[in-house]
């Protein structure tokens, strides 16, 4: 747990309230670390044809789900016990929302692991994996940065992630076109390419969830909801 003096959630009159909020924050970051590694390992399992690793990813997803339940419970108890307001309220409400984003990132990792097993069993030469690696790294760094922005309450970094999301979408479109070309070249590629497409789709969703987390961080810091608004609007909010 971080030092209380350095934490904006650590200076209430009630020390127990400090502990509860800071515990919530660090639990969330711990879950963030878990799903980050899940996505990373799922991509590795796919690219390196590692069925064992993919199995492990699928098994670990249960722990991620468990963590979601724990954090939700903790947040609910804080609401019931403390009736938090302002900054504290925004933290608790945001965590409740972001936790389901993390859980879904976990589900996407599981999905990728499932395809990794299927593709390794088919045992054909990988095509489209370059794109998977590339987009995978991109969304992983977005996810990492969004958790970092949460930890440091950095709304500017959160804004950068929102902007990144557009680039991921473009990369996803480009990769889809490449895969379509492979499929047109040789119809025997279709089944495999469809699997890779699903994987790319899963990664693109991971980027969306990272973006959701970033939007919540801006809400936590600035008190304004920037969901479903153009990036330019969010830029104004962050600049205030």
């Amino acid at each position: 747990m971080p030092d209380k003096k350095d934490d904006v959630y650590g200076d209430h009159i009630s020390h127990k309230f400090n502990d509860e909020l800071m515990a919530l924050k660090s639990e969330f970051l711990e879950m963030g670390g878990m799903v980050e590694s899940q996505v990373d390992r799922a991509i590795t399992a796919l690219v390196e044809n590692d069925g064992y690793l993919a199995d492990e990813v699928r098994a670990t997803d249960k722990k991620v789900d468990q963590k979601e339940i724990e954090i939700d419970e903790e947040a609910t108890l804080i609401l019931a016990r403390r009736q938090p307001t302002a900054r504290d309220l925004r933290l608790v409400v945001s965590v409740i929302k972001m936790v389901s984003d993390l859980e879904r990132v976990g589900d996407e990792a599981k999905k990728i692991a499932k395809f990794a097993i299927k593709l390794s069993e088919e045992g054909q030469a990988p095509r489209g994996y370059v794109e998977v690696r590339h987009i995978g790294n991109h969304v992983l760094s977005m996810l990492h940065d969004s958790l970092d922005a949460f930890a440091r309450l950095d709304s500017e970094q959160a804004l950068r992630i929102m902007k990144e999301d557009k680039r991921v979408d473009e990369e996803y479109q480009a990769a889809t076109r490449t895969l379509l070309t492979f499929m047109m070249e040789d119809t025997r590629n279709i089944s495999r390419c469809m699997s890779v497409m699903w994987i790319l789709r899963a990664l693109e969703r991971v980027g969306d969830h990272a973006c959701n987390i970033a939007e919540n961080v801006i809400f936590m810091v600035k008190g304004e909801d920037v969901r479903h608004t153009p990036v330019e609007e969010a830029e104004k909010v962050v600049g205030r």
Binding site: I13, T85, R87, R90
Partner: protein, 296 residues
């Protein structure tokens, strides 16, 4: 309940957006507040009370320092702040309850419907009939339930016949949500009722003289949660016909019942904003620190 009050004006938007002097985080002792400076929306389009540059001192001590605020018609506004911040003193200026304290001096402009309430020719009894008050501790007279409610209408001569008085008593008790519980025991002594019933009786007594404004000084702090919920429900209903100013130590109560919330600190009015805004993202650092329990 927390709907936006339409009476909050665009004029208020023109107020500046933040504290004038940068404040160090969470260190209220070090925070310098500029006198007479209030962030947020202190003004209303259709004010019932128009208060400008109000200061109150007890001898040499200044309890209220240059506060300007509008209280909108049919608005519920709550005053919050740490003990000794001046919120009750300020509330008591609104129907001249401070007059009874010899060393208390009120300066500035206090207008009710554009009339000066501190004018030397002002009839204070008439003012208090228009601006009623409910106190922290229920304080019924040691008389019957009926006589408690009928007291005000009698001294103000609001009813000529017994049947008129009966109507006023019934209506007031109905509005205060007490009729069903009290109708069969109107002659029994009021102090025999439960705390929550006594407080609703005091509200009935206050509304019996048809006031325009009701001031409430921590009306629920001596009540249990059920009685509190009843009084809050009543405040919501009454806001259709009255202007209500409520001082409360319960932040949740302020959040539940009021349209706007005003935060007082050491005699200053630091922030006034829509209640929704105050409790989710207050503008001033001091407001934030207080409502999140970082000092108080």
């Amino acid at each position: 309940m927390n709907t936006m009050n339409p009476s909050i004006s665009a004029e208020a938007d023109m107020q500046d957006q933040g504290p004038a002097i940068p404040v160090r985080e969470n260190n209220p002792e070090d925070t310098v507040i500029e006198e007479g400076k209030t962030v947020g929306k202190p003004f209303a389009a259709d004010p019932k009370f128009k208060l400008r540059n109000v200061s109150v001192s007890y001898g040499k001590d200044r309890a209220i320092k240059d506060i300007s605020l509008d209280i909108g018609r049919n608005e519920v506004i709550s005053f919050i702040g740490p003990s000794g911040c001046g919120k009750s003193t300020f509330l008591r200026c609104l129907n001249r309850m401070n007059d009874s304290i010899d060393i208390c001096r009120v300066t500035g402009e206090l207008l009710l419907d554009d009339e000066d309430i501190y004018h030397s020719k002002r009839d204070v009894v008439e003012l208090r009939a228009r601006v009623g008050m409910v106190f922290q501790k229920p304080n019924p007279f040691p008389k019957s339930i009926y006589d408690n409610v009928a007291y005000g209408p009698r001294i103000h001569g609001l009813a000529n016949r017994k049947s008129d008085l009966d109507d006023i008593v019934e209506n007031s008790l109905r509005k205060a949500g007490l009729w069903d519980e009290a109708k069969d025991r109107l002659d029994s002594i009021a102090t025999g009722m439960s705390g929550g019933q006594q407080q609703r009786l005091c509200i009935a007594r206050a509304i019996a003289v048809s006031p325009e404004v009701i001031l409430m000084d921590e009306p629920c702090s001596a009540l249990d949660p059920i009685a509190t919920a009843r009084v809050e429900e009543l405040i919501a209903e009454m806001s259709e016909s009255y202007t209500i100013v409520i001082v409360t130590h319960s932040m949740q109560q302020a959040a539940r019942v009021s349209h706007r919330t005003a935060y007082f600190h050491l005699g200053h009015l630091v922030e006034v904003n829509e209640t929704n805004k105050v409790f989710t993202s207050p503008e001033h650092q001091l407001t934030e620190s207080y409502i999140t329990g970082r000092f108080g």
